[in-house]
Structure formats: C-alpha cells, structure tokens
C-alpha cells in the first residue's frame, strides 16, 4: 500500500508542531538501518526534496544544516515518506560514511539490556 504525492502536495500535507518543525527519521536505503532522527521546518524540507541532499533544522543553533557540510558525511535522498497523520517523515537515504557525529554508523548505538 503506497500513495504517491507530488512534492507540492507532500509539502502541503505536512503538519508541523507548535515550533514549525516535524521529526524526520533517516533510514539507510542500503541496509534498512535507522540512522538518526532530526528535525525539519518547511524550508529545509522543501530544499531537501528539491535538491536531493538532506538538510535539517538545528533546534539548538536555530539554523539550517545540510548533513555532511562539515563532516563530508552527506545524505542523498532516495525517497521521502509521510505518515498517516502528517506529523512525521521518513527519509530513505544513501549515507556517505557514518551518520553519527561520534563516528558510529547510526546514532542509535545505546541499547537497553
């Protein structure tokens, strides 16, 4: 079951939170591993869909950041999907190098025993 939306319709269907943000999950297109969760606003989501290079919104720095711009560990967009109620996004990506700033392949390297 899959429904295709134009980029314009996709952008319109997103429901942002009270800060104008939506959580975006990055998943490796190659392995299916979930790499990270970060945030987007309308501008960085539009930029990501248009350019194919993933750009997030930093809540701590209050600015846009293109993944890999300092580390070189870019994320190239394979596919963007929106959930049923429009308030979460998943990005299938081609991840260059490790996704995490710690050097781990995924940010989710801590496991409950």
């Amino acid at each position: 079951m899959s429904e295709s939306l134009s980029p314009e319709a996709f952008l319109k269907a997103v429901k942002y939170d009270d800060k104008g943000l939506v959580p975006a999950i990055a998943q490796s297109g190659a392995t299916g591993e979930v790499l990270m969760l970060a945030w987007m606003n309308a501008a960085t989501l539009a930029q990501t869909l248009a350019s194919g290079r993933v750009t997030y919104w930093s809540r701590s720095r209050q600015s846009a950041w293109t993944k890999g711009e300092t580390s070189g560990h870019h994320q190239h967009l394979i596919e963007a999907r929106l959930d049923c109620d429009g308030d979460a996004i998943i990005l299938k990506v081609d991840q260059l190098g490790p996704a995490c700033h710690t050097g781990a392949p995924s940010c989710f390297y801590r496991k409950a025993d």
Copy 2:
C-alpha cells in the same frame, strides 16, 4: 558499535522535551520496515521496558495507550535503543497485524514522487 545500558541507566539517559516527551520510532524486527513514530513519557517508557508490550503517550488525548489495546495489533518489544544525544528512541518490535490505524502495514504509506 553498540553500548549496553541497564534499563535503569537507559531510563536516566533519556532527555525529554519541554512537554516531558520523547519521540519513539517503531521498526519491524522481522522486515526492518519503519512502522510508525509516536511519543512516550518517562512512565510509558518504563512500563514498555518492564512489560515488553509497547505503550505510548497520546498527545491529543493526554493519556497512555498500549498499542493494540483496542485494535489487537500489539507491539511486542524486541529491543530499545537510544540515540547519541538521548532525545530519540527506536523500538524494534514484533508487530501483530498492521501498525497503522488505516490498515496499512506502516503509517508511512505516502510517498513524495
């Protein structure tokens, strides 16, 4: 690369947002498909780790809800992981039936063309 935490240490390491919530991504342990994103507070996360049955916090209803309690589409916890900065969780689950209330296997059934 993986780091093991006791349930107590895991619970302490979580950084909740200003509403006391953390986003939790549910991923199928069987297929690797990302099923949904929902929210947890400290109590529902502790309950999930202790019981092995996934319980979220509903932001709209302001109450705890155990996935499947009305639909029968339970999520049994396989593994819980926390990200590098402690503000996002991934739950690998054994999903009974479809994850989405629409009947779709995953909530992420809308795709940008």
